[in-house]
Subunit: 226 residues, 2 copies
DNA sequence: CGACATGTTGAGATGGATCAACACTTGTGG
DNA sequence: CCACAAGTGTTGATCCATCTCAACATGTCG
C-alpha cells in the first residue's frame, strides 16, 4: 500500500535503526522485554511461549512485512519470545515513541492497529487448528497457510517457496510431538500432496490440501507497511 | 483509568447505541461481519471459530470492559463469531467511524490499540494452553485465569465469582471433548481445589491450581476503557 | 406429564506420545 | 585425509491420554 512522503519521513526518523539477527538467534527473549518494536524486512522468525518445564508453543510465524512488539508493550509481564529461523533483517523502533506516533501521525497509528489486528487474526486461526484439527489436518493447514502468505507477498517462485523450517519448528507450531509430526508429513508427501526438498516447499495438490485442512482462500486485502 | 471529558464526549457521540443480547444469542455471526465494534458493559460472551463439520473452538471469553470487533474490521473474510453466555449489554460503535476516531482523538486510538494488543495476549495464552498443556493443566489454567480476570475488575465477592459457563463451553475453550472435560473437572473438585455450585466458582486452593497450570500472577496493569 | 438441556459415569477404541534405534549431513579438530 | 560430535530426519514398538459411544440422573419448563 502507498505511503505518503511525510509519513515515510516520520517513520525514517522514528526508527532507531536496523538490525540483523542470525538464524537461530533471539530477537527478543521470552522473559525480559526490551522496549522495542520491530518490522521484519527479510527472513523468517517466530513468536513463541513456553512452560517452565520446557514445552514450547510457536504462536505464529513472522514473514517480511510483519510488525511485532505491541503485545510486549501492553501486556504486563506475560510475554513471548521471538527467534530468528533464517537470517533476519529488522527495522527497530523505540517503544516509548509509540504514543508520539499516534499523536502526530494518526494514519500510521491506524496502520499499526491494522497490523496488530491482522496478527491476532492469525493467532485465532492457529488456535482453531491446534484445538480442533487432527494431525493430518494441522499439517495440511500449515503448508497451505505458509504457501499463501509467501505467495501474497510475492515470494513464491515457480510454484515453490523457500521453506527454512525444520520439523521441530513445525511440531512446536502444531502442538504435536516431533515424531508424530514426521510421520504425518511423510504421509502427506507419499500421497503426493506436497514436496519438501532442499529447503523449498512445493504444493503438488493444493486443492486436496485445502480440502483436508478445511481452509479456503479468503479474498486478499491490501496490507499497510510500517 | 481516567478519561478526559472531551474524549468521553466524543465516545458518547461516536457510539451508535447500546444493545442487549440474551443468553445464548449471537452478538455477531461467524460468517457475515456486521460492520460494528463493541464494548461489553455487562455479562459474559465468547469469541469462537468453527470448522465446516461443526467442531468449534472458543478463542477467548469476553468480560465487562472488553473491546471487540477489530479483527473483523481488518482481516478479510476469515472471521469469528461472538455469542452471549449470560445476558449481555453492549456499547455499539459503527466500524466506519474508526478512522475518524484515530484522526481526531489519537489518545483513544492508542487505547483501542492497547485493548487489541491485550486481547491478542490472551489468545496467545490460550494457544499455549491448548497446544502444550494436558487436560488437568488446561482446566486449572481456565479456572485461575477467569477468577483473576473477574477479581481484577472487582467482580469477585467473598472469594467467589459468578460462573455462567457450562461444560460444553469449557470443553470448546480447552480443545477437549465434553466427556473428558467433565471427568477432569470432577477430579479437580474431588481433590478439593475448587468448588462449582449454583453458578458460582470458588477457588479452594489457588496455590495448587497455579502450580498445576504453571501460571503465575503477573503484575496488574491499568486498563483503558472505551 | 413429557421434552430438553445439562451433568455424570463406565467400557472400549484410537490417535498421538514416548522410547529407542539408526541414517545422513555438516562442521571441527587432529 | 579421517574421526568424531552434533543436528536433523526416519522408522518401529509400545503405552496411555483422550475420544467415542452409550446409558442414566437431574432439573427446568412448557
Amino acid at each position: 500500500m502507498p505511503v505518503k512522503p511525510d509519513e515515510l519521513e516520520f517513520i525514517e526518523a522514528f526508527r532507531s535503526g536496523a538490525s540483523v539477527v542470525p538464524a537461530g538467534g533471539a530477537v527478543i527473549y521470552e522473559q525480559k522485554s526490551n522496549g522495542k518494536l520491530f518490522t521484519l524486512y527479510s527472513g523468517w522468525a517466530f513468536r513463541y511461549k513456553s512452560l517452565s518445564d520446557g514445552r514450547r508453543q510457536i504462536l505464529n510465524f513472522l514473514l517480511p512485512g510483519d510488525f511485532v512488539g505491541l503485545q510486549q508493550e501492553f501486556s504486563g509481564g506475560a510475554t513471548h519470545g521471538i527467534e530468528a529461523i533464517s537470517d533476519v533483517a529488522l527495522c527497530v523502533f523505540p517503544r516509548d515513541g509509540l504514543w508520539k506516533l499516534f499523536r502526530e501521525y494518526p494514519s500510521l497509528g491506524y496502520d499499526i492497529t491494522w497490523l496488530a489486528a491482522r496478527g491476532e487474526g492469525m493467532v485465532d486461526d492457529n488456535l482453531l487448528t491446534v484445538g480442533r484439527r487432527n494431525a493430518t489436518e494441522r499439517a495440511a493447514m500449515l503448508l497451505m497457510h505458509l504457501y499463501r502468505r509467501l505467495d501474497r507477498i510475492g515470494l513464491a517462485e515457480g510454484g515453490s517457496i523457500e521453506f527454512p523450517l525444520n520439523q521441530q519448528h513445525i511440531a512446536d507450531a502444531l502442538g504435536l510431538s516431533l515424531v508424530h509430526t514426521n510421520k504425518t508429513l511423510r504421509r502427506l508427501q507419499q500421497l503426493g500432496l506436497h514436496e519438501l526438498r532442499n529447503g523449498r516447499l512445493r504444493l503438488l495438490n493444493p486443492r486436496a490440501l485445502q480440502r483436508i485442512a478445511d481452509y479456503y482462500e479468503t479474498p486478499p486485502k491490501e496490507v499497510p507497511l510500517v
